[in-house]
Symmetry: C2
Subunit: 159 residues, 2 copies
């Protein structure tokens, strides 16, 4: 699907990007978190061409992000459901929504997130799991593993 091969890289962002670093992937995920299950619903709500949607769903299934279940044998009809792996993508979609609301939005948000346990409409926040303080880019410092450091060193040297 993508011509580049990022999956052999050490960077796990690269590996994740290979899976859903694609507009349709993100639209599909958004739609599934909104409850979309069937091919034609996903198609209409994402606006993806049939062929594009089809290749993406196959890919997501082969990765393990979603499962394709028959809900009728005759005629054969299927629906797609997120697996645990797929549900774990929720923070990514929510982060994108938060960013989109803040920087690309036009005042009112199209979707509110209601926290079931407390009932409030919320914008989930990233916090440090140790000290529970909100975290942003400038609060963090990356520390590279030696293996990853070496991969980068090699890149620096070549070409």
């Amino acid at each position: 699907m993508s011509r580049t091969n990022l999956s052999e890289k050490a960077c796990t962002v690269a590996r994740a990007a290979e899976v859903f670093g694609d507009v349709w992937m993100m639209m599909i995920l958004r739609e599934m978190f909104l409850g979309g299950r069937r091919f034609d619903a996903l198609q209409r709500q994402t606006g993806a061409p049939t062929a594009s949607l089809s290749t993406r769903l196959k890919r997501l299934e082969s990765v393990g992000v979603l499962r394709r279940d028959a809900y009728s044998e005759h005629p054969p009809r299927y629906e797609y459901r997120l697996t645990a792996m797929g549900r774990d993508l929720w923070p990514i979609v929510v982060s994108m929504k938060a960013w989109g609301d803040k920087w690309m939005g036009s005042g009112e948000t199209p979707v509110e997130i209601i926290h079931k346990t407390c009932g409030h409409s919320v914008t989930p926040q990233m916090v440090c799991p140790d000290c529970h303080e909100p975290m942003q880019a400038h609060d963090a410092e990356p520390r590279l593993s030696t293996a990853f450091e070496q991969e980068r060193e090699a890149a620096r040297g070549k070409s």
Copy 2:
């Protein structure tokens, strides 16, 4: 750049996806959060072809995610820096890293995130800003605005 026009959609995930719903965009962002500033460093560390990198950087600049500063007049040399808008993308990249580490990783993470204020190596977590409980997909319920609901209703009806 993308053939589809998602930016006029109400959904802010769609708008965000239009900006960086692309493998190279994500790789560039990862690299910039790791401290990459110059064209050739970004190229080597992301593995992007020059032309691809060039179009992506132009696009990110035009959106306002990064700024292109001259660090030398003669010869003309530039570096790229994230704006506030760009730094706000951090939660997305971190969420992707967390997902990649968990589901695509091979034991050891290539990059640790050190929380400067507490000094710990952490995996940032999404919490409800009201009750401070960790939040996942099943803790949340989406509520659509009437405008967005109408857009979807229209999609349901056509073709």
